[in-house]
Symmetry: C2
Subunit: 188 residues, 2 copies
């Protein structure tokens, strides 16, 4: 395995790290965790947030990645979007379901942006999964908004009702990290 097949993910979110590690592992890429604080800017575009974080991390002699994810609900003009974790900490899943009462369009997208940098090379990959917001909290697996997000191809179950393997077959995070993995494997 070449040196470049080992990546460091700058995050304090063990759930995200664990998912990403499993996805990359199946592609022969080893993911390690770098527990540092990262600067997050306010922006509507997740790629901009992830890339900014990465640019502001100390330049290291090893490949580093940063991921930023969010749930974008069509009927709420994209809310909570880039501020998904803040919204979860304050109004919570119950608050989001309250906002969705009497909202007909329940379509939503889960997005994940993974920014990569090594030496003078940097790039960013976006993964998206379409689905809808459930009318109640369902399931206790996963984390974050998983118990209220029903992916389009998941047989009507929420991510919270799926095993990690099932979620990783469909999720926004898996899509972004698989793009990264494929890109890494085709490079010299």
């Amino acid at each position: 395995m070449s040196k470049e097949r080992i990546l460091w993910m700058a995050t304090r979110n063990k759930n995200k790290y664990s998912e990403a590690k499993n996805i990359l592992s199946s592609m022969g890429v080893t993911l390690k965790i770098l527990e540092v604080n990262r600067v997050e800017v306010q922006a509507d575009d997740l790629k901009e947030i992830a890339s900014y974080s990465l640019r502001n991390l100390e330049s290291e002699s090893r490949p580093i990645i940063v991921e930023d994810a969010g749930l974008f609900i069509d009927g709420l003009n994209g809310f909570p979007g880039p501020y998904s974790s803040y919204v979860l900490r304050t109004i919570g899943l119950e608050g989001v379901l309250k906002l969705m009462k009497n909202v007909e369009n329940r379509e939503a997208k889960f997005k994940s942006a993974v920014a990569y940098k090594f030496r003078d090379q940097s790039t960013c990959f976006l993964g998206v999964v379409e689905g809808e917001i459930s009318t109640e909290i369902r399931g206790s697996q996963g984390f974050g908004y998983d118990p209220i997000f029903i992916p389009g191809e998941g047989g009507g179950r929420t991510f919270g009702e799926m095993s990690p393997e099932e979620k990783n077959a469909l999720s926004h995070r898996a899509r972004a990290f698989r793009k990264l993995g494929e890109w890494l494997l085709t490079r010299n």
Copy 2:
């Protein structure tokens, strides 16, 4: 008037600029507008957001300020707080009132943090006004959350039902900018 009695405010929000200009003008300080984009970080503390923006502005040979403001609703664990403008753009005042349905504690705080820098000197002032969230949108003056915020000392009216002068006698922004003005005037 000494050179230091002229300040530049980095903002694209004309409403904020106009309020700040009026407050400082009454203290003999001239406020000019610097229409530049500023970097806003994600943080729970407005002082941190304003100070970060200021640090990341090009170093100038003149005194610059940045203001960051937000509405913190007790019954919603501080939501929308630092993301007040994003929340307004997405779920709007109606969304916030929907979240407040059946919430007994309607207490809230409007906060404003003003960060100042000139040469090697920097400081930050916080202004806070306590009040509560109205049950409906009232008044068409002011901007942002003014039509749903009833300050404690405003006779039961929302900021949206007050003239600019009345709002400036009570507001979070006025309190922060008056602190800045007093500090400037006592310096040499």
